[in-house]
Amino acid sequence: MKYLILALLVWSLVSCHDDCDPEDTRCSGNMAQICASDGDWQTVDNCSLVEPGEWECCEWAFIYEDAETAACIPLGECE
C-alpha cells in the first residue's frame, strides 16, 4: 500500500501542470516560457540571469508563425 501511495505522490509531482496550449508563450515574472506538449509551462530563459547587462522578458519580442512571441531582450527594447 505504501508503495502505491509513494507511486501516486511521485506521479503527481511529475504530472502536475497548469493547462496551457502547446507552443503558446508568455512572460512569467522575468522568465520567457513556452507551453510544452503536455500542457505544462516550461521556462526557456530566465531573463534576470542573462549576461552581459540587464535583460527583460518581452511578450511581443518577435513574430513566430504570425503570433507575437515572448523572449528575453535588452532592457528598454520592449516597446
Binding site: E23, A36, P52, C72
Partner: protein, 221 residues
C-alpha cells in the same frame, strides 16, 4: 539512459540574421584572426576546454576506450536498437560528471575544435541536471520533460556556436535531432520554437546557460 545525450555529427553554424553587439564582435574578430593565422587552435582550445571542465568538475572519457560504453554498444546492437559502431562513433553521452565523447579531444581531422567546444558546452549542461534527484525519473517518464532538458543543452550549444563562430545553425535541424531521443512531433515543434525564442537573445549577444557564461568569460580573459 544510453540515449541521454546525443549529438549526431558536427554542428554547422550558418549565417546569423542580426549584427552581434560590439562585445561579441570583439570575440569573433579575436578568433577569426587566430584562425587565419592558424595559431589559435590547440593552445587556445586547450585553455577553453580545461576551463570549462574545471568549472563543472567534469571529466571526459573517449567512448571507444571505455568498457561501460563498449558494453552498452554491444547491448544495443544485440537488441537491434542501434548499430554498435554508430553508437560508439556518433553519440556523446553524459552520466553524472562523466562525459563520454565519440572523438579524440583536440584532433581536428574529423570535427573542428570549435565544434568540439560546442559539443562540450551541450554535454556540460547535463552535468548539473543530474544533481536533481527527479532528473532521471522526469527524463524517462515524459517526452515533454526530456525535450525540456535537451532544449537547455541545445541552447548552451547555440550560445557556444554564436560565441565561437558568430552565427547560428538552422534551428529546425537542431530541434529535429530530438527524434532520436524518442520525442514526439509535438515536442519537436515546441523545441524549435523554444530555440527560436532563445536565438533572439543570443543574436543580441546574450548568454543565459552556465556553460555559455563560462565560455564567454574564458574567451574574454
Amino acid at each position: 539512459m544510453s540515449r541521454h545525450i546525443l549529438l549526431d555529427g558536427p554542428i554547422q553554424c550558418l549565417g546569423g540574421q542580426h549584427s552581434p553587439p560590439k562585445e561579441v564582435i570583439r570575440i569573433i574578430n579575436k578568433y577569426s584572426k587566430i584562425k587565419k593565422d592558424e595559431t589559435m587552435t590547440k593552445k587556445e582550445f586547450k585553455r577553453l576546454w580545461n576551463g570549462l571542465l574545471t568549472h563543472f568538475n567534469a571529466r571526459v572519457i573517449k567512448k571507444s576506450d571505455d568498457e561501460l560504453m563498449e558494453a552498452i554498444a554491444s547491448f544495443l546492437d544485440v537488441l537491434k536498437i542501434q548499430n554498435r559502431e554508430a553508437f560508439l562513433n556518433n553519440w556523446a553521452i553524459t552520466l553524472r560528471h562523466n562525459i563520454y565523447l565519440p572523438f579524440t579531444v583536440g584532433d581536428d581531422s574529423k570535427i573542428t575544435l570549435e565544434e568540439q567546444l560546442i559539443v562540450l558546452c551541450h554535454e556540460l549542461t547535463h552535468v548539473p541536471q543530474w544533481d536533481d534527484p527527479l532528473f532521471v525519473l522526469r527524463y524517462v517518464s515524459s517526452t515533454a520533460h526530456r525535450a525540456e532538458e535537451e532544449t537547455e543543452a541545445l541552447i548552451a550549444g547555440l550560445e557556444a556556436c554564436h560565441l565561437l563562430i558568430g552565427a547560428l545553425p538552422p534551428l529546425n535541424e537542431e530541434a529535429v535531432k530530438l527524434k532520436a531521443y524518442g520525442c514526439k512531433k509535438a515536442d519537436i515543434k515546441v523545441v524549435e520554437k523554444a530555440l527560436t525564442m532563445a536565438s533572439i537573445k543570443i543574436e543580441k549577444g546574450g548568454v543565459s546557460t552556465e556553460a555559455g557564461k563560462v565560455l564567454r568569460k574564458l574567451m574574454l580573459s
